[in-house]
Structures are given as structure tokens and as C-alpha cells.
Amino acid sequence: MLRYIGKRLLQLIPVLLGMTFVVFMIIRAIPGNPAQVILGQLATKEAIEALEIKLGLDQPWYTQYFDYLIGLFQGDLGESMRTVQPVANEIWPYLAATFELALFAVIIAVIIGVNAGIISAWFQNSWFDYLAMVIALIGVSMPIFWLGLMEQWLFGIELQWLPTSGREEVRNPVSAITNLYVLDTILQGRFDQLGQVLKHLVLPGIALATIPMAIIARMTRSSMLEVMRSDFIRTARAKGQKMFWVVYKHALKNAIIPVLTVIGLQMGLLLGGAILTETIFSWPGIGRYIYDAIQYRDYPVIQSGILVVAFMFVMINLFVDILYGLVDPRIKYD
């Protein structure tokens, strides 16, 4: 097992290296000059040239790339051109905000999606099955922007149940320790704030969960349907076991592998930051951080931001692969 993990981690290196190269080349291919953007519209040509030299933009691309790589190996993610802060210091609060929201959304998506999928498969062709699958189809094709604004209107303005944006009640701010606010408020014993933080998670969480939920439900259903037709299910039922246990214990265990894969992929995608959800709900996450950086041509932030996101994505997938073995003892890693 450890050997397997080690091997997978080693495989990471070429993947991430290749990615730094692709990202590096793409962002330099788009027009727009960071020095011009930083100095503003009134800047003179001399000043722009001077700043280009200071930022190393006058060097040939391969020199810039290798300088960047050398920095990376020393654990230096670079410095934001716009805010003049090290990216490594800046990135954590954004990543934490995204992580908290993504985890919340995945939990919602898994609980509802998996159960809906199971019940649909169990009662195949019942009205519940049809209804759930129609909802799932709508869910996959829902424009998140519209859904978000409708949620805000209904739950935020008409019913006044839930806050419409941000991570916290700004008039009663959370003092950050880990920047995972749910954890922070618990650590500080501020349960009044915990309630507020959870409420702030609900609307963006639902908006973000919609698509994964639908995908997970459909995947669970099809995978379960296949398993439910197999012989051991018939045997289990023949010996008189309760249907509930047949479905949730025997069938689910055998149907869960493809579902796990989908969950892992979705979690990875959500960690990349959902730019639309983060924009509508003013969520200070990694997606908006990188998106803003693109507008400012803040090369180090774009490069390192995407690198960190990709790293998380690969790690989640590794984690899922390891989970396979725990769920299904037939899968061995050697």
C-alpha cells in the first residue's frame, strides 16, 4: 500500500511539471502587458520598460520559466505582481474558503444524490424514479447564475431566511485561525457565529451542489441497476433478508466504485473554485482569485494558483483510489 502511494506520488511530478509548462506558455500567449496593467493608463513607455526589467519580463521565456521552476523547487510560489505579496502567504485564505464551500457542497450532493440514485434503482420505473431522473436532468442543465440569483431572491429577500452573500455576518466577524470558518468558530467556542457561518454556506452550497448531485444520482442509479440484476442479490433475497439491507449493504457496496470515482472527480472540480458561484455569492475563493489575476495579467498568481489547484485535484484522486481498496477488498495495490 505504502509502495503504491509512493509510486503515485512520484508520478505526480511529471504531471505537475507538464502542467506548469502548459500554463506558463498559455498565459504568455494572451495579449496584454502586466506592467501596463499595474502602472495604469497614464503610464509612460519608459516606466513600463523599467517595470518589465524589474519583474523579469524582458528576459526570454525559457529563462523566465526556469527561474520560476527553480523558485518552485525551493518552495517559492512567486510574488503577486499586483499586491506585491508572496503568493504562498496570500493563497491560503482563498483556498480555505473554497475548500469549505466545496466540502459542504459535496456532502449535500452525496447525501441527496446517492440516496436518490439508490431509491430510483430500487423502485425502477416508479413515479419516484421518473421524478428523480427528470429533476436530475434539470439539475445537470441548470444555469448556475440564474439559479443563484433565484435562490437569493426567494430565500434571501422574499422569505428572509438566509444571507445572500459572503462567508460571515460582517457586523459580527469571525477572527480567523485556520480560515476554515466552521472550524475556527468551533475552536473559539463561538457557537453563535458557527450558526451564522453555516447559514452563509447554505445558498452557495446548494447552487454549487446542484450539478454534482444530479451527476452522482444518475451514476448511482445506473450502477445500482446493474448490480441489482446479479445473482447474489437474488440469493440474498431468496434467503429472506430484508430488502433494505439487501440494497444498502450488499448492492451498494458492489455498486459504489464508479460512484466514488465520480464523487472524487466532482470534488476535484469544485476545489478549482466555481467562478460563477463565487461571483454571485461574493465568496472570496480561489476561483475568483485566479480569475482576477488573469484580468490583471498577474502571471505568478495565475501560474501558482493553477498549480495548487491541480495539485489538490490529483491528491483527491489519489485519495479516491486508496478508498477503492478499503471499500472493495478485491482491489489490491501492488
Binding site: G40, A47, I157, R167, R171, P284
Partner: protein, 542 residues
């Protein structure tokens, strides 16, 4: 058997759901009361007056001298003060940290008398020494550190263009500025947010990190900055005007989406919202719990015609386009009428505005005649660039472009609408790659020079003069006006300049918009400033 199972399952889920909802609701009722409290008088449970101000973006730095974008100044305006202030809702000059200022006859020496008894938030005394140290810090810098210093004062120590020869302290409360040449908008420049006086103790100690721990003399002091999320400032107890500020705390929140920001206002999460869509103006006016604020216009939205690209190198073609476009219809449809129809490159509130210019009326017949004279009786094909982002001076670039496209079709010109991502758009336009492009400008200091010279002089080709328009006579007038200290003579020069620009028609000026803000009905004494940075010391809740 299937049916029965479904029902028991659904029942189970219903029970689970109601438990969750009940839990939600109980935590709800607790905070609901707090929310109600804030709705009534903007105060939290502790009785503090807190104003939450929602805006489109985060600040870049809280050291105003190092930045050029308005979202930073919105905050620093309340943390720092400048030697001179702009008027409440205009750009006339009023006292600030200086109570008196006297220019010499030749306009080369300015003597400022400073306010006494002022302290920085860190306890440092504000005096002539502090002012000198601030100006020395800037003069010894470079353009990438202090971009506005360069553009407003011509350069840095030792450079030829540098306007400020020396800044010296005479006693504790007198500062003398000596200039290398007269600069007409000098006092207006001094009043600009980037030249706010910071605590020398603080910037000497923090160096480049000063922007994270800003210290000024302003009515509010810095508390906390959660990037891309919120900036909190609170009342400075040692403020020299003991009656101010009236609020205890101001929280600036970044809410990028305009509709979401309005939703937050309706929901009560924020008290004041910047950047309201013109289309939402009537909604706000119709809501008795809200009020609409209009920011006096100090901008221009225009269609630029790149004068080096055929056929726009022909003045008749440019004039024809001016006649062809129905500005009134555009202002009515896309600015919801909340804009002044433009005829000059600067809005009428700025001194030097030439009201004698009639502007080009909407006259497609005349446009066709001019095109025929220019040898394009059958029209031509062109690219029409539409801004990809909304800006106060251009709320919806794509729609405006479509309206212009239709106008041009009427005179036989086929325009293809093109758009790029914003930074790319500006980059390509500044290289002269566009035939015709939508763009605009918001003034920095309310001076005519800040519009005409910056946007249309040959010196600024490659930066803000996107049309590559270069008229030598105009250049002479504009340079003369920069050093002309006599206000009447100077205005006369700008009037001449506008006549030349009118004839040459490098732009189709479209509109001077009135940006909208919305706030709770109980906010009083909030006066949006045309520069876009609002001083909140007077603001209060009824």
C-alpha cells in the same frame, strides 16, 4: 410491496428534513432579531453605528500613493487626509490638513499653513516635517512605486519634467512648495487622494508593507482587511474635529455582481451599494425602504475612431459617423436617461467647457452626403469594438454597439461587432488595432487638462490617446494651458481646443453618465463625490 416501501421511505426523509429545518429555524430566530436591529438604525447589538458599504471590487493597496484604481481610494479617502480637499460634490478647492494656501504671483511658490493639533492614528504629530517627509518619499521613488506622482507632477527628483523643485518646512506649521514651472492644476493635484499625508513613523517602519497597515490622520482608522471580502475601519477617537465621524464603524464589502449587490441591499446585509445598474434605478426609487443616490458626472463615454486607419484618416468620414449616430436614443435606451448627451470630450461641470459648440445632430442624410464627398457613396466595411465589461461611463458596451451598428447600416456602412477580454481590448486598442472602439474615462481631479490633454494630445498616443489623433495646433494650446495660471485665459484656451476637436472629430462623444448608488432610506448626509471616492465622516443614520 414496492409502493409501501416508497411511502415509508418518503416519510423517513420528511422527518429528517423537518428536523434539519427546525434546527435551522431555531438558530434563525436568534439572528433575525439582530438583523432587524440593523435594519432599523444600522446599529448592532452593542449600539454601535455600523455602515456596510457594498462595492464591485477589492482594494489593491491601502497606501494610496502606490495605486491608480478607484476601489483603493474609496477606502483610503476615509483613513487619510490631503492638504486640500475637494468640495462636497465638486472639485473646487477647500481647506484640508492645510487651512491656508497662498500662491506667489508667478505661480512658482505655494505657501501652505497647516492645521494645528492634528495627530496620526499611531500618535505621531502631524506637522510640516511630516508633510516634507511624505513628499520626499514620493520624489525619491519611481513610477512603478508612485504612478500618480509621475503623471501629476511630471517625474521624480532629478528628472527634467519634475514640477516640484523643493518642499521645505518653515517652522512647525508652514510648508513651502517651490515649482520648476507654473502648473495650473497644482492645487487640484494636491487635493487628489493619492497625495494624502501618511504617518512618517509608520511608513518608515513598515516600508513596502505599509499598505497593509495604513496610518493617516483621517476620521477612521484601519482595523482589518480580509482580501476579496471585506475591509473594516472604525472611528478614530483622536480625530481633530471632535464632532466627527458620526459612524462608529464602516465595513467595505466586495460584491462583484451588480444584481447580487442589489439583492444584498434588499436583504439587509449591506446598507449602501455602489454600482447600481441604470435599469435598476426605478426599482430602487419605487422601494420606500431604499433611496437612490446620483453621483455627479465627471466622465465621458465615447466611440473612438482610429485616425491612422483608413477610411478614418479622412475627416469627412469621421464627421459622417458623428452625424449618423443617434446619441439621444442611446442615452435613453441604455443609460435609462440618466446621462447628459455629450458634445465635447469633457462634461459641462468642468470649467473650460465650451457650451457654444453645437455638437453634431442626428442627421443620416448629411452623413450620407459627407460619405459621398469622401468617396464612399456606397459605404464601406469596418470593425466596431464593444467593451466586454460594464463601466459607469458605459453600462452595456455590447448593446450600445448594436445600436450604433444599426445607425451605421442606415448610411450604408457595414460594421462588424468585435469584442475581447478587457485587458486584451485595451492593449490592442492602444496599439491602434481597432477601426472604431467604445471606451470612456472618469476624471481624476476635475481639471480640463485631465480630459483633453490626457485623452487627445499627441503626447499620449500609445497610452490614453487610443485614436492616434495628433494635431500640432491643439498640442500647442494644451501645453500653453498647462502653465497658464490666469483662470479666464486658461478657460479660453480650452474652449479653442474643443473647437479644434469638434472640427477634427476623432471621437463620437456619446454620454456623460450619472453613476447610481442605492442605500437604506435612513441614511443621511451621504453625498457621493464625482471622483468616486466618498468621504463618510458626515454620514449618519436617522
Amino acid at each position: 410491496m414496492g409502493k409501501k416501501r416508497i411511502w415509508s421511505f418518503l416519510l423517513l426523509m420528511l422527518v429528517a428534513l423537518s428536523v434539519v429545518l427546525a434546527a435551522c429555524n431555531s438558530s434563525e430566530s436568534g439572528t433575525e432579531k439582530e438583523n432587524e436591529g440593523t435594519k432599523d438604525n444600522g446599529s448592532t447589538s452593542t449600539g454601535d453605528k455600523v455602515l456596510v458599504f457594498g462595492r464591485g471590487g477589492d482594494s489593491t493597496s491601502l497606501d494610496p500613493s502606490t495605486v491608480t484604481e478607484g476601489e483603493s481610494f474609496k477606502v483610503t479617502k476615509n483613513i487619510y487626509e490631503t492638504l486640500l480637499n475637494f468640495g462636497e460634490q465638486d472639485t473646487t478647492i477647500h481647506e484640508g490638513l492645510a487651512t491656508k494656501w497662498e500662491p506667489s504671483e508667478d505661480g512658482l511658490t505655494y505657501t501652505f499653513t497647516l492645521r494645528e493639533g492634528v495627530k496620526f492614528h499611531d500618535g505621531t504629530d502631524f506637522n510640516a516635517e511630516a508633510v516634507v517627509k511624505n513628499f520626499e518619499r514620493w520624489a525619491n521613488g519611481s513610477e512603478d512605486k508612485f504612478p500618480y506622482y509621475k503623471s501629476m507632477f511630471g517625474g521624480f527628483k532629478g528628472e527634467e519634467g519634475h514640477v516640484i523643485e523643493s518642499v521645505t518646512a518653515e517652522g512647525d506649521y508652514t510648508v513651502v512648495f517651490k515649482l520648476t514651472r507654473a502648473q495650473a492644476p497644482f492645487l487640484k493635484n494636491i487635493a487628489m487622494s493619492p497625495f494624502a499625508i501618511a504617518s512618517p513613523t509608520a511608513f518608515e517602519k513598515d516600508g513596502e508593507k505599509f499598505g497593509d497597515n495604513p496610518v493617516g490622520t483621517g476620521p477612521f482608522k484601519f482595523v482589518e482587511w480580509k482580501r476579496n471580502d471585506s475591509i473594516t475601519i472604525e472611528k478614530f477617537d483622536g480625530y481633530w474635529d471632535e464632532a466627527l465621524p458620526k459612524l462608529d464603524k464602516v465595513i467595505f464589502r466586495s460584491i462583484p455582481d451588480n444584481s447580487a449587490r442589489l439583492n444584498d441591499l434588499l436583504n439587509g446585509a449591506i446598507d449602501l451599494a455602489d454600482g447600481i445598474n441604470p435599469a435598476d434605478g426605478t426599482t430602487v426609487e419605487g422601494d420606500s425602504s431604499l433611496q437612490l443616490f446620483e453621483r455627479p458626472s465627471m466622465n465621458v463615454g465615447y466611440l473612438g475612431l482610429t485616425t491612422t486607419r483608413p477610411p478614418f484618416d479622412n475627416v469627412k468620414v469621421r464627421q459622417a459617423l458623428n452625424y449618423a449616430i443617434d446619441k439621444e436614443a442611446i442615452v435613453e435606451a441604455f443609460f435609462e436617461g440618466r446621462a447628459e448627451i455629450a458634445k465635447n470630450p469633457l462634461p459641462s461641470s468642468i470649467s473650460g467647457f465650451n457650451d457654444d459648440i453645437t455638437g453634431y445632430e442626428y442627421n443620416p442624410e448629411k452623413a450620407k452626403e459627407l460619405l459621398a464627398e469622401a468617396g464612399f457613396a456606397d459605404g464601406f466595411e469596418m470593425e466596431l469594438w464593444a467593451m466586454p465589461v460594464p463601466r459607469p461611463y458605459m453600462p452595456d458596451g455590447k448593446k450600445v454597439a448594436e445600436a450604433i451598428q444599426k445607425n451605421l447600416e442606415d448610411i450604408g456602412v457595414k460594421a462588424e461587432i468585435v469584442s475581447y477580454e478587457w485587458a486584451t481590448y485595451l492593449d490592442k486598442a492602444s496599439k491602434g488595432e481597432a477601426d472604431a472602439f467604445l471606451l470612456g474615462w472618469t476624471g481624476d481631479n476635475g481639471d480640463a487638462d485631465n480630459f483633453i490633454y490626457v485623452l487627445l494630445d499627441g503626447d499620449n498616443i500609445g497610452s490614453n490617446n487610443y485614436t492616434y489623433y495628433d494635431n500640432k495646433d491643439l498640442h500647442k494650446i494644451l501645453i500653453e494651458a498647462q502653465t497658464e495660471v490666469d483662470e479666464d485665459k486658461r478657460n479660453e484656451l480650452y474652449k479653442q481646443a474643443q473647437e479644434i476637436i469638434f472640427e477634427d472629430a476623432p471621437w463620437v462623444p456619446l454620454a456623460h453618465s450619472t453613476p447610481l448608488l442605492a442605500g437604506k432610506a435612513d441614511i443621511v448626509d451621504f453625498y457621493p463625490h464625482p471622483t468616486g471616492s466618498d468621504l463618510l465622516s458626515q454620514v449618519d443614520f436617522k
